[in-house]
């Protein structure tokens, strides 16, 4: 079993020094997500400025994969137009749930491609998704479910065409 396929250097770096950590004001919605099987948890806040993801702040307890994943996510979504950020989230989720069969799009996912190896470790997929699902949930509460699912569907369609 290739440990290095799972623990890419980028992941270990983010684990040691997480980006955008800590809970900040202002925010519109705060959520608390837990992984009931292992007890990992994240408290996450979203702050939107119009159509832009102005800030995502969090307090997370968990393994290297879940901690690094939420850290990378904040790099990718903060400062982005909401529609773009949601598209990245949807792609990351597809990658994680793809059992290692989905080819990651490096242009979109950037540092998050480091998690491609996690998809081959079924027990760890939920670790990688914890923060991303928390952000999706918080965003849905902030702007409404339809906006979020429309963005996710748009991504599915695009990827379907490419395949």
């Amino acid at each position: 079993m290739d440990l290095d396929a799972l623990y890419q250097e980028i992941i270990l770096d983010h684990y040691k020094s997480p980006h955008h950590a800590g809970l900040r004001e202002p925010y519109e919605v705060q959520v608390h997500h837990v992984n009931p099987t292992c007890g990992d948890e994240v408290t996450l806040r979203v702050h939107l400025d119009g159509e832009t993801v102005a800030d995502v702040s969090y307090d997370a307890l968990g393994c290297s994969i879940s901690q690094a994943s939420v850290s990378v996510m904040t790099d990718l979504v903060i400062g982005r137009p909401l529609s773009e950020a949601l598209a990245v989230q949807a792609q990351f989720q597809q990658l994680m749930q793809g059992r290692g069969q989905v080819e990651p799009d490096e242009d979109t996912l950037e540092d998050a491609v480091a998690f491609a190896g996690v998809a081959k470790f079924p027990a760890r997929v939920k670790c990688a998704l914890l923060g991303w699902m928390a952000w999706k949930d918080a965003t849905a509460q902030a702007v409404g479910e339809t906006t979020v699912s429309a963005a996710a569907n748009a991504v599915s369609v695009n990827r379907g065409e490419r395949a």
Partner: protein, 431 residues
């Protein structure tokens, strides 16, 4: 379907005065497996579920192959064979735990179901045993969720109050307030014998004596005790005892609720359905005597038969010998683990009144990551809260890594764990 005679002949388990773990290991085919990277399997997750000897596997295969039929209702020869095998398994379990009568052994699907059964029917019971508003139910802070949540639910339904004993920083039950926590309002005391997380073996005698002084019913979670200690329920003093088959070299899908005859007799049924009745009309039903009263529907027939074979296997080794081996391995592991820099054992650090599960923290590395690195070397441990979140909270940790040993564990496997932990520290650059 034909199965070869060879497969039906169970290899004899190890016998003789000296316990030879290498001979015992030959009875467990899975222990010969090699994992990814050609690492030999080092299975240190037996408190989660134990591995199964060939004799248990063969007994179950043979039943399916040659004797399968429903029990207690089929009039044909196979039905008679199947019923006999199922009831024979009940007798084996009864003998294994020292029950006064085979009718004191109720088959459930696992220990959780056994606790839910008791908690549910105590809420339904009329008379002295019934739990009602104003009554108190006592548990401990080191319970597995299976012996906590059903009591919380019972209290929610009835308005009874849940109370509990805490434990010390060393992981020992804190009984300083014994007489206050268990008082004249206490109706039920339900506690774990051997903790699945801390490894602590609790002083049942003191708690049982106090509980009976105030007329409370005592329920014991023996899920980790029956697999590794000689157990005699007839002298234990408890009123009800729950455990599960899959942690004692038996299959999953079968658990046991033992209850003293006069207690079971007073309890109302749990689930309604086939086989738990005496007679049924459209208007009303009268219920069968225990144990049938608590076994509605087709039971887990073959798992029960497999559990009977597991009892035979453990008896052939001798539970005193199994307990002594567990003690030796646990002492060795405690000593070795505490030499790993940054490692903190959660629970008693001395091998005294202690079972073979050791939970620990490794500074700077999350338990998931510890388990992942160990797994890459074929070492299987559990990482998480081990269904004991309150106990973790008490010790100020969110989760832990747990290594747990059993009758087939070797010192060499403990060494592989220690090497793996050194590798983990190196990989995550701690220390």
């Amino acid at each position: 379907m034909m199965i070869s005679t060879e497969a039906l002949v169970a290899p004899g388990p190890a016998t003789g005065a000296a316990y030879d773990v290498d001979v015992v290991r030959r009875d467990f085919p899975i222990l010969g497996r090699r994992m990814a990277g050609d690492h030999p399997l080092v299975y240190l997750d037996s408190a989660n579920t134990s591995q199964k000897p060939q004799s248990v596997i063969d007994t179950m295969t043979e039943h399916y192959a040659l004797h399968n039929a429903n029990v207690a209702r089929a009039m044909h020869q196979l039905g008679a064979e199947s019923s006999e095998a199922y009831e024979n398994a009940r007798s084996k379990v009864a003998a294994f735990i020292g029950a006064a009568s085979r009718d004191e052994v109720v088959f459930t699907k696992n220990a959780s179901e056994a606790f839910n059964l008791v908690a549910r029917v105590l809420g339904d019971a009329a008379g002295d045993l019934g739990v009602r508003a104003g009554d108190e139910v006592v548990v401990t802070e080191m319970e597995h969720h299976s012996n906590l949540v059903p009591w919380q639910m019972l209290c929610g339904r009835t308005g009874a109050q849940l109370r509990w004993f805490g434990f010390t920083d060393e992981g020992r039950l804190d009984l300083d307030d014994l007489d206050a926590v268990i008082n004249e309002r206490t109706k039920v005391v339900s506690l774990v014998w051997v903790s699945n997380m801390l490894g602590t073996i609790n002083p049942l005698e003191r708690v049982i004596a106090r509980a009976h002084e105030v007329g409370a019913l005592v329920v014991v979670d023996a899920s980790q005790a029956v697999p590794q200690l000689p157990v005699d329920v007839s002298t234990l003093g408890a009123d009800l005892v729950a455990f599960t088959g899959h942690k004692m070299v038996g299959p999953s899908g079968i658990g046991v609720l033992w209850g003293r005859g006069d207690v079971l007799e007073q309890l109302p049924p749990f689930l309604g359905g086939g086989e738990m009745i005496e007679t049924v009309t459209m208007e009303r039903t009268t219920f069968a005597a225990p144990p049938a009263r608590f076994e509605a529907g087709t039971p887990p027939i073959v798992p029960a038969i497999g559990l009977g074979a597991a009892c035979d296997y453990l008896s052939s080794l001798g539970m005193a010998a199994v307990a002594a081996h567990e003690q030796r391995i646990t002492a060795y592991a405690l000593e070795q683990l505490q030499q790993v820099p940054g490692l903190r054992v959660l629970g008693p650090t001395e091998p005294v009144d202690r079972g073979g599960a050791i939970s620990f923290e490794l500074a700077g590395v999350h338990p998931h990551d510890v388990a992942q690195v160990l797994d890459s070397r074929g070492v299987a441990v559990r990482a998480g809260h081990h269904c004991a979140k309150p106990a973790h909270l008490r010790l100020g940790v969110q989760s832990s890594t747990r290594a747990s040993f059993y009758l087939y564990t070797t010192e060499g496997e403990v060494d592989a764990l220690i090497d793996g932990l050194e590798r983990t520290r190196h990989y995550f650059k701690v220390g």
